[in-house]
């Protein structure tokens, strides 16, 4: 156990791409935690997909030993947090394990939406905030402007902000000195019953669930019987240790220390992020505050292109869930797409990441339907139906009202683009709340808008209409009643369930028209004419036609052509295999996502 006064627990928080992971890499090098020859980029992001996309999905904790200018050696626990809004809950749990944060702001980009959101979260958690202006080596760096933005926009004193470059390593030592000097050391009662916060967990095929914990009171070591308070699960401790960043067992984790805990439990559902670990006997009676269940907000149908892969998809989802308890699913069957699953995600990034991992790590070919949200449909007879899939929307005749999830969206943008943002938000049913100047170059706008509008490529649109300058953050604010209808798409006269979607009544006509036009472009000409119709109930609101192909024949086929032409046919066939046949119509996969690309 280490004297708590020599411990500092801190996170690095930042808007995406502001250089958080690179900075963490420099910390590992400076403290000789990782030998230079073992160093690789984004050391703490272990998944391929994290490195490729430059994002952090799983929280990570690493202990480094730092020889400070005051001659003492400090135990620094760096807790790397996911940066994306989808993982806000994980971020809040990670912050709950810290006493301070380094708030990284890009010296060229300045304060962005997630800078604001993360700073607010740190303030709400009463953490010491050390501003760090990163990437000062960039030609476009303007630390003075950014310093001003931090002070004006975030109300955080920044005259002593650390100036650093994760790329060159400049200022990294200054940052660690600031952590030692400014971040309070942990305070806890070593004699009290164990209280430790689980701020993340992952599944290890050999060891079972590994929990990342921060000890608040008491201590924990091998052989002790512990209890997970939210699930009342009692188990023995097999091993505790610290991550450097590889697991290194220790005898005991004491007050203020951060490390891992292995119990041999195999079911991740029993070891929940946010839960409190205490002793099985004479344990603490009160949980640490802030625990809640992860709640999926975005739903999509995932179907194997090859129906035989359905069991493989189920296995793969189960395997992924071991490391991602936020992932939920139910079997779903579609006339068009066969058997698959309705999968719930924390948000769009979470959805993309999971789909990509399923395809890449489990070698599945998947078709995803357009994402949807959880609607609450209240029927005349008074009950409420939870609708995760447009197919489940009750008949309009029986509906009293439908509620949909709303969120508060925060957009930060240079003043020149305020008009463009307002126009877009207006198209997406946004209600303007307020607007303020964070600085001469940054305006903060607040909107309330339906989540369903946000998941319709809102972010892409926002980026393209503001030349990439706008940044976005949002939080859920609850359910509100909206005038919603289900729009069906018929191909060759038959409704294709997987193409149905829920839309606001006032936008149904426009969107139906654009979507049928889009589908006409996407669906290839077939041997027969294919009418495409959009309908609300029995009422057709728009119609397009894919003209029939007139001929499809290789007319010239002699001795030298046979192999070549056969290969050509094989290639065509492989292309067709990537399509779904619904009735006699071959539908390319992108058709099922077309609704997302509808820019009316």
């Amino acid at each position: 156990m280490t004297d708590p006064t020599l411990i500092r627990n801190f996170s690095i928080i930042a808007h995406i791409d502001h250089g958080k992971s690179t900075l963490a890499d420099r910390v590992l090098q400076l403290t000789h935690t990782v030998a230079d020859r073992d160093m690789q980029e984004q050391m703490l992001d272990s998944m391929d997909i994290e490195r490729e996309r430059g994002i952090t999905i799983k929280a990570q904790a690493v202990r480094v030993m730092y020889d400070a200018d005051d001659g003492k050696t400090y135990q620094l626990n760096l807790i790397d947090t996911p940066g994306h809004v989808d993982f806000t809950y994980e971020v809040s749990r990670s912050l709950a394990a810290c006493e301070g944060v380094i708030l990284v702001v890009d010296a060229a980009q300045g304060v962005e939406a997630q800078t604001v959101a993360n700073a607010q979260m740190a303030m709400n958690a009463h953490l010491e905030i050390i501003p760090l202006i990163n990437k000062i080596d960039l030609p476009a760096a303007d630390p003075e402007r950014v310093r001003h933005e931090i002070e004006e926009g975030l109300a955080i004193p920044a005259d002593e902000a650390v100036l650093a470059s994760g790329k060159t390593g400049e200022g990294v030592r200054d940052a660690l000195e600031a952590v030692v000097r400014l971040v309070p050391h942990p305070v806890g009662d070593p004699e009290a019953p164990l209280k430790a916060l689980i701020f993340d967990s992952y599944f290890d095929a050999y060891r079972g669930v590994v929990a990342l914990i921060r000890v608040i009171d008491g201590s924990v070591g091998k052989g002790v019987k512990v209890k997970m308070m939210a699930t009342s699960t009692i188990t023995d401790v097999e091993e505790v240790g610290v991550r450097r960043p590889a697991n290194m067992p220790v005898d005991v984790l004491g007050v203020g220390e951060v490390g891992y805990l292995i119990t041999g439990l195999k079911d991740p559902a029993l070891v929940k992020v946010g839960d409190t670990v205490t002793l099985a006997r004479h344990g603490a009676t009160e949980q640490l505050p802030g625990y809640r269940e992860a709640k999926p907000m975005v739903f999509t149908g995932l179907f194997p292109i090859d129906g035989d892969q359905y069991p493989d998809l189920r296995d793969a989802l189960e395997r992924l869930q071991l490391n991602d308890p936020a992932l939920v699913w139910d079997p779903e069957s579609s006339h068009a797409l066969g058997f698959g699953f309705r999968v719930g995600f924390l948000g769009l990034l979470h959805m993309e990441v999971v789909k990509e991992r399923l395809e890449r790590e489990f070698d599945l070919d998947l078709l995803a339907t357009a994402p949807s949200v959880e609607y609450h449909a209240y029927r005349m007879k008074g009950d409420m139906v939870v609708v995760h899939s447009p197919q489940d929307m009750p008949d309009p005749g029986h509906l009293d009202r439908v509620e949909e999830p709303y969120l508060k969206a925060t957009v930060l943008v240079p003043p020149d683009y305020v008009g463009a943002v307002m126009e877009l938000a207006d198209q997406r049913r946004g209600t303007f709340k307020d607007m303020q100047y964070l600085s001469a170059t940054t305006v903060e706008l607040h909107y309330e808008m339906p989540l369903s509008e946000l998941i319709m490529d809102f972010f892409d649109q926002l980026k393209s209409r503001t030349k990439g300058y706008a940044s976005l953050d949002y939080e859920y604010i609850g359910y509100r009643t909206s005038q919603l209808v289900k729009l069906d798409i018929l191909l060759a006269g038959k409704p294709v369930d997987a193409l149905s979607f829920v839309v606001h009544k006032d936008k149904a006509y426009a969107r139906g028209k654009v979507l049928t036009e889009k589908l006409r472009e996407i669906i290839p000409r077939q041997m027969f004419e294919v009418p495409i119709q959009a309908a609300i109930g029995a009422k057709i609101i728009s119609r397009e036609t894919v003209r029939a192909m007139r001929k499809d024949v290789i007319a010239k086929c002699y001795g030298g052509d046979i192999s070549r032409k056969r290969k050509l046919l094989e290639k065509q066939k492989a292309g067709k295999k990537r399509m779904k046949s619904v009735g006699s119509v071959d539908i390319p996969q992108e058709a099922f996502m077309a609704i997302l690309k509808v820019d009316e």
Binding site: M549, R550, K551, D552, V553, C557, I562
Partner: protein, 414 residues
């Protein structure tokens, strides 16, 4: 070296010589031979075949000798020659060789003698055919001329980059018929700018001229050709699909009405004048191919005897090979650029697929052996194929959607 192997007896060798009991039997070579002559007067705007302009850079005699050498290369001691049922000299434009072409025919048929009544076809373009050449070719054993007429509309011929006009083409057709040759004419339909009436006039005129065989190809835009470039740059309209289909339908109607029956997707003939050589391609007979870019097909036994596949690879029943697209491919270190082996189920499916190019279609037995019955039935349900008299045949609609038929049959077994 081929000269050393004499005779055409069942085992070869000199008459009266007794083959020891343990001598491996000699395997008969194919009875169909294709020879590619990769020269043309000039390249046409739509053509992506392996051929180059005959600008004097390639010596005709050298090319002829190289071609013969390539043929001799196949005469391994483990195989024996059989009389050729068909010989096809294609291109390019073989007739640009002039008298050297006559030499080529004579020498080829010396190395590989012709069977009684063999079909010997030479491809020709109107600009390089003279009455004298026709007479010499007939004397050398040529029986059939396949002429690249393409159109009898001068404007269309210019657009296609052809170096002849309609009048010349008709003259050559008549001269060839007069010389006693069977004559086939190739035509291209769907050329941008060609009216339907002009197309009908071309069809009538070519039949009036007395040809026994017509091939009709819709214009196909091949990547990298000047025509593809013109379309990409907007200088030329792309072929109109509706007009092309109308032209294909009109060809079927007019030619059939005038006594030329359709016997394959693109081929029409007065009964008895179908191309025997091409029919061999569509009915699974092995053929040798020689010349730059030429392809050939051998059965498994032939391929093993020639050392193209190891002797113990008995599962291979068919081999397709192709020479590199080079003027003198045998001078290259690896002169075969394409090589593909097939198992019996694959070869059967290929036969069924190719069989459906033809009016007579595929017999029940073959469809069954190829495992293609289910595919055939689905094609019948879609109106592309009809099943009658123990055979599966393409319907009128099936002619237009051949790829659907071929793909389903080829993909019948995964």
């Amino acid at each position: 070296m081929g000269q050393a192997i004499g005779g055409q007896g069942p085992i070869g060798g000199a008459p009266g010589f007794t083959v020891p009991w343990n001598e491996p039997p000699r395997v008969p070579l194919p009875k169909h031979l294709y020879v590619h002559v990769p020269l043309c007067r000039s390249k046409c705007s739509y053509c992506d075949f392996f051929s180059r302009a005959d600008d004097g850079a390639v010596s005709h005699t050298e090319l002829v000798e190289a071609t013969l050498e390539m043929l001799r290369g196949w005469l391994e001691p483990t195989v024996r020659r059989v009389p050729l049922e068909t010989l096809y000299i294609g291109g390019g434009t073989p007739t640009v060789l002039g008298d050297d072409l006559v030499t080529l025919v004579r020498e080829l048929t010396t190395i590989m003698p012709l069977a009684e009544g063999a079909e010997v076809t030479v491809e020709a373009n109107p600009e390089s055919v003279s009455p004298e050449l026709l007479a010499s070719l007939v004397a050398a054993g040529v029986t059939r001329l396949s002429i690249g007429v393409q159109s009898l509309d001068d404007e269309t011929l210019r657009l296609l980059g052809r170096c002849h006009d309609a009048a010349t083409a008709l003259d050559v057709v008549r001269a060839a018929l007069g010389a006693g040759l069977e004559v086939g004419a190739d035509l291209i339909c769907g050329v941008p700018g060609l009216s339907h009436d002009d197309w009908l006039r071309t069809l009538d005129a070519i039949v009036d001229a007395g040809v026994q065989h017509v091939s009709v190809y819709p214009l196909s835009i091949e990547a990298g050709t000047p025509m593809a470039e013109a379309i990409a740059e907007g200088r030329l309209a792309p072929p109109d699909e509706d007009a092309t289909v109308a032209a294909m339908d009109a060809a079927a109607e007019v030619l059939t009405a005038r006594g030329l029956d359709r016997y394959e997707v693109a081929n029409y003939a007065v009964p008895g004048h179908e191309s025997r050589h091409n029919t061999a391609y569509w009915t699974g007979w092995p053929y040798l191919g020689i010349g730059g870019g030429a392809h050939g097909m051998l059965d498994g036994e032939q391929a093993r005897a020639l050392g193209l596949v190891p002797p113990d690879e008995t599962g291979i029943v068919r081999v397709r090979y192709g020479y590199a697209a080079d003027m003198f491919p045998m001078r290259l270190e690896k002169s075969l650029s394409a090589f593909e082996t097939m198992t019996a189920p694959e070869a059967l499916r290929e036969d069924a697929m190719l069989g459906m190019r033809m009016t007579r279609g595929v017999a029940d037995e073959l469809a069954e052996l190829a495992g293609a019955r289910g595919a055939m039935e689905s094609l019948v349900a879609d109106g592309l194929v009809v099943h009658e008299g123990g055979r599966w045949r393409p319907t009128e609609r099936g002619w237009l959607f051949g790829n659907e038929i071929f793909a389903r049959i080829w993909g019948a077994v995964e």
